[in-house]
Amino acid sequence: MRAPLILLPLPVLLSGCGGSQSALDAQGYSGALLRDLIVLIVVVCLVVWIGVMIMLAWSLTRRRDGQAGDSRGSEQRLGVWVSGAVAATVLIIGGLTILSFQTTRSLDRAGDPDLTIRVRAQQWWWQFVYEDADAGSFQTANEIHIPVGKEVRVRLESTDVIHSFWVPSLGGKQDLVPGRENLLTLRAERPGVYRGQCAEFCGLQHSHMAFFVIAEEEESYRQWAATQRQPGAQTGEAEASAGKAVFMARRCAACHTIRGTGATGTTGPDLTHVGSRRTIAAGLMDNTRGSLAAWIADPQTLKPGNNMPLVPLTGDELRQLSAYMESLK
Amino acid sequence: MKERVVLDVSRLPLHGMGIASATWWGTYAFMLIEGSGFGLAIVVYFYLMFLAPQWPVDAPAPDLWAGTALTALLVASVLPNIMVSRWAQKRNLKRVRIGLIVMSLCGIAPLVFRVFEFPALHIRWDDNAYGSIAWTLLGLHTIHVLTDLIDTLVLTCLMFSRHADNTRRYGDVEDNALYWNFVVITWLPLYACIYWVPRL
């Protein structure tokens, strides 16, 4: 029997959860530097434009006296004006070049990062690996937590096509190119939820390839990381335990990992703590039991073309699975 | 508009040769296009080479004999080529005819060696990027040899037809010779790339 379609109003369902995504709302070290640079360059260019417009308006409307100004003298005067304007252009672009070079330099901070996250982008979700030899590595998907005020090095890789990692409020973007590794440093100055989105066209669902950076104080970050390192939660609830069985029996385990269980697939996101995430399917929907059920029932309608197939389930199985997913905090 | 005649051009020749000929300039423009193409292909060769950990990738350096023999042949063919061009300038139909037959042979002979050049690379085009660019360089040049050969063959036929004794035809022969020189000259850097750079 096919799973019954959950008839929830789609628009409500599809609303991801907020978080700022604007280059002008800078909340990180790089973001703030870039915003200042942007504002400065825009102001300089605005002044240039206004200057040109004034000259344009003036030359269109000025009173012409007698003969058209073809005489030698005025031709020479015009030459002086034009040369002056060209000289000013040279100065201004020289200044802007130096300015942007300096900003680039101050963005490029070497030094040891406090935390390294490996990002593996794929069509159309983000795999994040926290690499930590001492405390143990762990994986999440479409959501990272970082401590405020710390230098976070992200190592960017792609497993298929080119994507681009971009969290406007924290800083500029950087591409993830197959066969290469790029680096980016993030530092959030204030706690908050910052939305990021894939910026390089990567195929059918490029529009739905968002992720969240959650910057929090050191202490709560540590707690979060400790929880993430745990294996998937064992639950006493009957419905959820039944869901676990379904998960193993159906094809889910072939693609997804839930640490501490027999599920070790790697095609899809690590679901060990999927219940703790704010959204599912790369920012497509808020993470609720209803949306989990809707997703598992028919991922291809919600995110056409994505790499999770429709797995036929009964209504009961679907309920149990979503309860299980939700319980994986 | 009213007109006032200030210049009489009726004494000018009915056809320009050399830099007074539009075809001559057209030939140069096309050589510029193709030259840019070859230049670019060579740049790509070096780009891939600098990315690769070792060069050639998973293959020995190509065998030299076929490519070297072909190079010698091409360089030697420049002599008759220049002669044909001279004879065409002097409108010596008989010699031009002989010269064109010689040049047709000079076009076919390298193709024989070319057949042996591809296996001499010791790699297939679909093995790796080194194979791809080596085959592409050879292939690109082969297409040029072929095009000029066909051009030469058609021109040879033309010079044995009733249209032969005509300044325009001689101009065509000169342009064709010019193009063959181009085919020879572009081969030299390609030869160096394909055969000697892997030996560096």
Binding site: V86, G179 | V9, L14
Partner: protein, 629 residues
């Protein structure tokens, strides 16, 4: 031998018409090699592609007008924006500029036909075939869906399923071959067929700009030909140019594409500034200020254009120092651009503006292009671009420069040269309407995109979620786009109506100074009764009463004058080829080969045979008068 020296005007015109007019009927039309006929076809076809591309734009705007809209699905949307971009760049903007060159350059340099007119006809048919290939594939729902720059690996063998990417790549081949053909024709026409006395420093600025454009085509297009051919090879025969697993590289594609792609935008833009430099002086009735600096600016832009391609790749992770070099080189383009803007302002300042439609569009161009150029300078800064790359800020930048910088001058040019091309004036009243509608709604449509980009909206997304703060502006943009297309509609209606019903124009309705206005409107098939002789940059202003001309060309065969490259001293009387259907057959044979080769590499072998036959038919002498020497 019949020359024009001893004939009276009427008899001369009769004989020239007999020699130069194409045969009537269908095959006569197919065979025509008159540059004006070919150019007219080219221009009309390109404008049809503008309308089609514009309709696609409206479809995108409909889909983006509200969050989570479902008018167009993801797959269709991706096809649509790829089609819109590729169509606008390769089937509209570049061809229309080249077509204007094909029409105007021979007239402005005072010759009877373009150099290599059969190649010219061939080029049109090939362009048409390329356009049909793309649009038919769209109708069959198999259009490319990889964006107009088709980055690998998305377009490569592993991720680009079906034949979509191949169709894109082969459409490129079609349009590039036709563009290269025209470039060669323009270069040779300008070098060798100028009227006697038109030395390098008397060449009209439009002709200069077309010459630089032609060199850009010649130097840049081989890069994209190489790229698209190797892409097809990767997909069809398994080469590994772009496969990192086997020693290839994904970024190689980007280097090759943008080494062409950046010059490409100046290929579109330079002809437009040539138009501005030509139209402006006429409407202020004085010679342009700073001829020499303007020529130098054109050449400088052309040369610099090859040193900036990396500014499209600022976030792919290249070394920082290298990137900063490209910031400097990109910004330095502002210098020649500034030179031109300031010279135009000086021309306006010291002239007496007559506010007709062409001048309005030129003024609209200055206002708009300076904004687009300045946003170009902004994105040329590496750190600035790190935030706005691949967002609507860039979409705003390039529509400002493409539409404001190239389409506005193009519309001005249509209003300006329409009387020459058709013999009829366009309506001044509708022209003013079109201008104000297009100008105002253009800014309403594209200015908000800057803000959207800064607010984090990436480009090429088919939808966005309601809680992102983009919905309001997007709706506003979409509504403005409707008014924008109304503006275009008014323009098209004006053009179509005036074609048959416009007021008769006369030879020189604007009192313009360049040679194309010395002949009748529309010009006869032979362009000029006698070849003009030039002794000034603005020949019709310096010789208002009688045009100095030459005599002595034959009238019983198509004959024109070959002159020296520098001084334009007469060197020879050269024949110009007769009409021929062979270019048409050659184009068909080439199209069959190119399309077939998407499916099988053997097409290159077998498909070449018909091409060779057609080319032999094309070049084999037929014993005509044109063959004498």
């Amino acid at each position: 031998m019949v020359t024009d020296a001893d004939l009276d005007e009427a008899e001369l015109e009769r004989q020239l018409a007999r020699t130069w007019t194409s045969k009537p009927g269908f095959w006569g039309a197919i065979a025509s090699v008159d540059h004006k006929v070919v150019a007219r076809r080219y221009i009309v076809t390109a404008f049809v592609f503008l309308i089609l591309g514009g309709i696609l734009a409206l479809a995108m705007r409909l889909q983006l007008s509200q969050p989570e809209a479902r008018f167009v699905d993801a797959d269709r949307y991706n096809q649509i924006f790829t089609m819109h971009g590729s169509n606008m760049m390769f089937l509209f903007a570049v061809p229309v500029m080249e077509a204007m060159a094909v029409y105007l350059v021979p007239l402005m340099v005072g010759t009877r036909n373009i150099a290599f007119p059969r190649l010219n006809a061939f080029s049109y048919w090939l362009f048409l075939a390329g356009g049909l290939l793309l649009w038919i594939s769209f109708a069959l729902d198999t259009a490319p869906d990889i964006g107009w720059f088709a980055y690998v690996p998305l377009s490569g063998p592993e991720y680009g399923a079906g034949k979509r990417a191949d169709i894109w790549a082969q459409m490129i081949t079609f349009t590039e071959v036709s563009a290269l053909a025209i470039a060669v024709e323009i270069v040779v026409t300008v070098f060798k067929q100028r009227a006697p006395g038109m030395s390098l420093d008397r060449i009209p600025l439009l002709v200069w700009s077309m010459l630089v454009m032609a060199f850009l085509v010649i130097m840049a297009m081989p890069a994209i030909m190489f790229a698209s051919s190797t892409l097809i090879m990767d997909r069809l025969v398994g080469t590994h140019f772009y496969n990192p697993a086997e020693g290839g590289d994904a970024l190689l594609w980007q280097h090759l594409f943008w080494f062409f792609g950046h010059p490409e935008v100046y290929i579109i833009f330079l002809p437009a500034v040539g138009m501005v430099s030509t139209i402006l002086p006429t409407f202020v009735q004085r010679p342009v200020f700073g001829y020499l600096p303007l020529v130098m600016a054109l050449i400088a832009t052309g040369v610099l254009a090859f040193g900036l391609w990396v500014h499209h790749m600022f976030v792919v992770g290249l070394p920082r120092l290298g990137e900063s070099f490209f910031t400097a080189s990109s910004m330095s383009i502002a210098i020649p651009a500034g030179v031109q803007i300031f010279c135009w302002l000086a021309t306006l300042w010291s002239g007496r503006p007559v506010f007709k439609t062409p001048l309005l569009f030129v003024i609209g161009f200055i206002i708009t292009f300076v904004i687009g150029g300045l946003t170009g300078v902004m994105v040329a800064s590496v750190p600035f671009d790190a935030q706005v790359h691949d967002t609507y800020f860039v979409v705003a930048h390039f529509h400002y420069v493409l539409i404001g910088g190239a389409v506005f001058p193009l519309i001005a040019a249509v209003y300006y040269w329409f009387p020459k091309m058709t013999g009829r004036m366009m309506s001044e009243r509708l022209g003013q309407w079109a201008f104000w509608l297009i100008f105002i709604s253009f800014h309403l449509t594209f200015f908000p995109m800057h803000i959207l980009g800064l607010q984090g909206m990436p480009r090429r997304i088919y939808t966005y979620q309601p809680d992102l703060p983009w919905a309001g502006l997007n709706l506003f943009v979409s509504l403005s786009a409707i008014i924008l297309s109304l503006g275009f509609l008014v323009f098209f209606i004006d053009a179509i109506r005036s074609w048959s019903f416009g007021r008769p124009a006369g030879d020189n309705p604007w009192n313009a100074p360049t040679l194309e206005w010395a002949t009748s409107s529309p010009p006869p098939p032979y362009n000029f009764r006698s070849i003009p002789v030039v002794d000034d940059r603005n020949p019709l202003w310096s010789q208002p009463d009688a045009l100095p001309v030459s005599s002595g060309l034959r009238t019983d065969r198509r004959e024109l004058l070959i002159t020296g490259v520098v001084e334009a001293l007469p060197e020879a009387r050269e024949s110009s080829p007769q009409d021929s259907v062979w270019p048409f057959w050659a184009a068909i044979a080439t199209s069959v080969m190119l399309i077939w080769s998407i499916f099988s590499p053997w097409a290159v072998v077998w498909g070449s045979i018909p091409i060779a036959i057609a080319l032999i038919g094309w070049f084999w002498p037929k014993g005509e008068a044109e063959d004498e020497s």
